[in-house]
């Protein structure tokens, strides 16, 4: 159960990563490439007797093709056993030495991770087992059939969650025929039609050295890390890099999708295609969004929607930066009778922000928070491996963390405003509402609570 990734957690990981800045102690990232083309990112952190390893591959659900869900199933099958070990023995091999194995997949990326102590016997057994998984995963059909049944129950569970329904519909409608529209967990027909050979073929195609990166963080010296990286690389075939995925088309008109659901509250997601990694406007948009909806209680959306009107517990906006344009996303939840009011208030905030921009004082406050908060975000080995895996995966410069603060500091108010005028299109937003359609209350600040 621990391995299962919660979608919300993933989203916030992305925020944390993009929010990175650096003024003080940036982790010193070293990078090299092994003989068979595996790129290695390494940070030496000697304080705790542990090592984190993560292999990332361009093997997320955007690669599913017609087999919606195959990326997720492939990652999930990796704990099912190797040539020599069945699922029970594999779990035992890791856990008997206190090691933590995990694998996951998102839209762009799939990853295989390990955390182990550096006690010699424990470390050796953990890493040997990890390499066995990477090299010799057997994908037993029996385990595959079980996973299919579990996935089908998972798809049923999505149908009882308004948040899950909203998210699925949002991506589907935002991206149309683009691979980012694919449902990450597949759908009933694709999951039922899936064969274990699909998973094997997917693994063989995408989990290869030239399509991956290795991140190493912990109490391991450079020379040992090099030896280790070489060993790990040898478990992978050289293979080929995945093909580029197509660019995302902008929305042409505004669209509202209301999905009827018997909940007391409606989940609302509003957005458009936003930015990709390496986008020239990314930093200006990111900085602006801090004051718009990215900074919690100091953001305008939180003030207008929650603090002033009590309309929602959570309200936020952010740009998810992906290989191709990830979404700009604004989200909130409110009781069904307030849907119209909440949407109006939230989109008015965006429109006003776009029209009037951000004040110099607000911009400064955002800059201070972003840059001042940097050390908090690279404090743990877990934080660091998240960063370097991202830098490696998206091919960002090694000094990405070192220059982030400077880049943010240099952005002017005009640049932020200009980027928002050019890149945000509130007249072409997609709005997804999941909840019960009911009579709406008047937009009054001191309205009386209607009884349900």
């Amino acid at each position: 159960m621990k391995i299962i990734k919660h979608p919300i957690r993933t989203i916030f990981l992305i925020i944390a990563l993009t929010a990175s800045t650096l003024s003080l102690a940036a982790p010193k990232i070293q990078n090299w490439t092994t003989e068979n083309g595996l790129s290695v990112y390494y940070v030496h952190v000697p304080e705790l007797p542990m090592i984190n390893l993560r292999l990332t591959f361009d093997a997320g659900s955007a690669r599913d093709g017609k087999n919606f869900g195959v990326a997720g199933l492939t990652a999930a099958m990796l704990d099912s056993g190797t040539k020599d070990l069945n699922a029970d023995q594999l779990a035992e091999a890791f856990e008997s030495v206190g090691a933590e194995f995990s694998s996951s997949s998102a839209r762009d990326m799939a990853s295989i991770s390990l955390r182990t102590l550096t006690l010699p016997d424990e470390q050796k057994k953990a890493i040997d087992t990890w390499m066995d998984v990477i090299k010799n995963s057997a994908f037993p059909d029996k385990d595959f059939q079980r996973l299919i049944k579990q996935s089908l129950v998972g798809l049923e569970a999505e149908k009882q969650s308004p948040a899950a329904i909203a998210s699925k519909a949002f991506y589907q409608h935002l991206y149309g025929d683009h691979p980012y529209a694919f449902p990450q967990n597949g759908n009933e027909s694709t999951i039922k039609a899936m064969k274990v050979d699909d998973v094997k073929a997917y693994y063989a195609r995408y989990f290869v050295a030239k399509n991956g990166q290795l991140a190493i963080v912990g109490a391991i010296k450079r020379t040992e890390a090099e030896t280790l990286a070489k060993q790990i690389a040898r478990t992978l075939k050289a293979g080929e890099k995945a093909q580029a995925i197509p660019a995302v088309k902008p929305l042409q008109t505004s669209e509202t999708l209301h999905i009827d659901f018997p909940s007391s509250q409606s989940h609302i997601m509003i957005g458009q295609p936003g930015t990709k990694r390496g986008d020239n406007d990314y930093f200006a948009l990111y900085l602006g969004n801090h004051g718009l909806g990215g900074s919690g209680f100091t953001s305008r959306l939180m003030k207008e929607v929650r603090v002033k009107r009590g309309l929602s517990y959570s309200v936020y906006s952010y740009f998810v930066s992906m290989r191709e344009a990830g979404p700009f996303l604004l989200g909130l939840q409110t009781k069904n009778s307030q849907v119209e009011e909440a949407i109006k208030v939230a989109t008015d905030v965006v429109k006003t922000f776009q029209k009037e921009g951000v004040s110099e004082a607000q911009l400064q406050a955002s800059k201070i928070n972003i840059t001042g908060g940097f050390p908090l975000r690279t404090a743990s080995n877990n934080d660091i491996i998240g960063y370097i895996a991202m830098i490696g995966f998206y091919g960002l410069p090694l000094d990405y963390l070192d220059t982030f603060t400077g880049t943010i500091d240099k952005i002017s108010r005009e640049e932020v405003m200009e980027a928002y005028k050019r890149r945000l299109h509130p007249d072409k937003f997609l709005t997804v509402i999941v909840g019960k359609k009911v009579k709406q209350v008047a937009h009054k600040d001191d309205k009386k609570e209607p009884t349900q």
């Binding site: 008997s96 079980r146 089908l152 209680f297 309309l311 959570s314 406050a365 908090l376």
Partner: protein, 474 residues
């Protein structure tokens, strides 16, 4: 696991991870290398715990108040949590929202959370900004202004929070009803967020009264972990907190749960697609082994640790019995878990929960879980299993040190529940000392069917518009 509620969803992920693992596996673990924790108590009763971790130039500041749902009574449930929301609405010297602005300008991340046993506020920030956090926390310990207009909005926010977390989530709703049936008179029967009707009738005066009663230095613990010098911290804390007068704390009634005389079953019929099961045995907590409770049978010091290891034998990863036997093996469950809730202020439950596989009923899953419990009573756990658990305990003791927030949260919660932060250092050796015979003993002694409560979520059709909304039984 809805026992801890944070103020903002934005930090939910960050917050929930450490706390969920605390509630479920509850492994406060002891770093052996450093002389762990410095403790000071101010004249006004405020306790300060400082732990040094010099890996990064940052610190976490947490202030823990010994007040939560378990201090409330029927009719005022959710009061502690609502007050937590209002604690951001300004003081005599800081207007509403200014807290966040000041902290944001200092690069800090901040939030708060409420559980059954405590309400805590925290800031994570650069180690040269600790004073900013201390000044603000000292201010709102005594000088909060509770404004009716602010309350009117904020209570609506809390209701939205309840709708999101519980009313529209069939599994959460089941858990809420399960607790209310498992406990008859223990305050653990009430949800942290409060029953909707109590939120609807909550008054600002209730909050005012609650604040006055519980927010005092002698009811608080300040925890600071990070790259700090304990002696300097002590001086700073004195500067901001020493002048706050001691409060007159109300008496906390015992409210020990009455004995259960037979298993309880409840059916929860809600719009849903997937059935689920939650069951729990009444078990003593760590607190019962530390402090004898009047009228309660004696709990041996090792018993909670044996229950803790027992939970890990069942659900300590993919090689543990439940995953191995029920998810793989018999393929009876798609997900299943076990957890010992042994680290609260009051005794709680040993919980088993799960989602049956397609073609399996909830009652079949229940029987399979009870069979696993029976096995623990009949047969000693193997040496290999115990070895695995111990290896995991030793490893996670190291892994947990990777997060200073996690360490601070462990210290604070142990202190706030009355167990005492010293348990952090005692935990690992005590777990390592558990024997197969002790596990069998606690299984026989506590995991007995007469002390069991079973809840079954029975999915009802997800009807479309014009039908009754899900969840809220109003």
């Amino acid at each position: 696991m809805n026992r801890i509620i944070s103020r903002s969803l934005l930090l939910l992920a960050v917050l929930f991870l450490p706390l969920v693992s605390l509630a479920k596996e509850a492994p406060p673990k002891a770093p052996k290398t450093t002389p762990s924790v410095q403790e000071y108590t101010l004249d006004n009763g405020l306790k300060l715990l400082v732990k040094q971790d010099k890996r990064a130039p940052i610190a976490v500041v947490q202030i823990w108040y010994r007040v939560g749902t378990s201090y409330e009574h029927e009719g005022i449930t959710g009061l502690s949590h609502a007050l937590e929301h209002m604690m951001f609405k300004g003081t005599k010297t800081h207007k509403s929202g200014q807290f966040e602005v000041i902290l944001s300008e200092n690069g800090a991340r901040n939030n708060a959370f409420t559980s059954q046993d405590y309400t805590a506020y925290y800031e994570v920030l650069a180690n040269d900004r600790i004073e900013v956090a201390l000044a603000l926390e000292a201010d709102r310990m005594r000088n909060l202004i509770l404004d009716p207009k602010e309350f009117k909005k904020e209570i609506e926010v809390v209701k939205e929070e309840r709708r999101m977390r519980t009313d529209d989530n069939p599994v959460s709703s089941t858990r809420e009803q399960f607790n209310a049936v498992a406990f008859m008179n223990s305050p653990y029967r009430a949800p942290v967020i409060g029953w909707m009707v109590d939120l609807e009738t909550m008054k600002l005066d209730d909050l005012q009264d609650w604040y006055k009663k519980w927010y005092a230095p002698n009811n608080a613990t300040l925890v600071i972990v990070g790259d700090v010098e304990p002696e300097k911290i002590k001086i700073l804390v004195d500067k901001y907190f020493a002048q706050i007068p001691k409060g007159e704390l109300p008496e906390v009634k015992l409210r020990t749960e009455v004995k259960q005389f037979g298993a309880r079953y409840l059916k929860v019929k809600l719009p849903a697609k997937v059935a689920s099961l939650r069951m729990g045995f009444k078990t003593p907590g760590m607190i019962d082994a530390i402090k004898a409770v009047k009228g309660q049978p004696k709990v041996e010091q090792w018993e909670p640790y044996a229950l803790e290891v027992l939970a890990t034998i069942l659900d300590g990863g993919s090689s543990a019995r439940l995953a191995k036997n029920l998810v793989r093996g018999q393929e009876i469950a798609v997900g299943v878990g076990a957890g010992y809730y042994g680290f609260g202020r009051l005794s709680d439950l040993f919980v088993l929960s799960g989602t049956p596989a397609k073609g399996t009923t909830v009652m079949q899953l229940k029987d399979a879980l009870l069979k696993e419990i029976q096995k623990l009573k009949d047969t000693l756990v193997t040496a290999d299993e115990l070895k695995r658990v111990k290896a995991q305990v030793i490893a996670s003791e190291v892994y947990e040190r990777d997060s200073i927030e996690h360490i601070a949260t462990l210290l604070g919660s142990l202190e706030a529940t009355g167990i005492g932060y010293q348990l952090m250092d005692a935990y690992v050796p005590q777990v390592l000392a558990v024997t197969p015979e002790q596990i069998q003993t606690v299984a026989k002694k506590y995991l007995i069917n007469d002390h069991l409560t079973v809840a079954e979520l029975i999915p009802q059709a997800l009807k479309k518009a014009s039908d009754k909304p899900a969840g809220d039984a109003k």
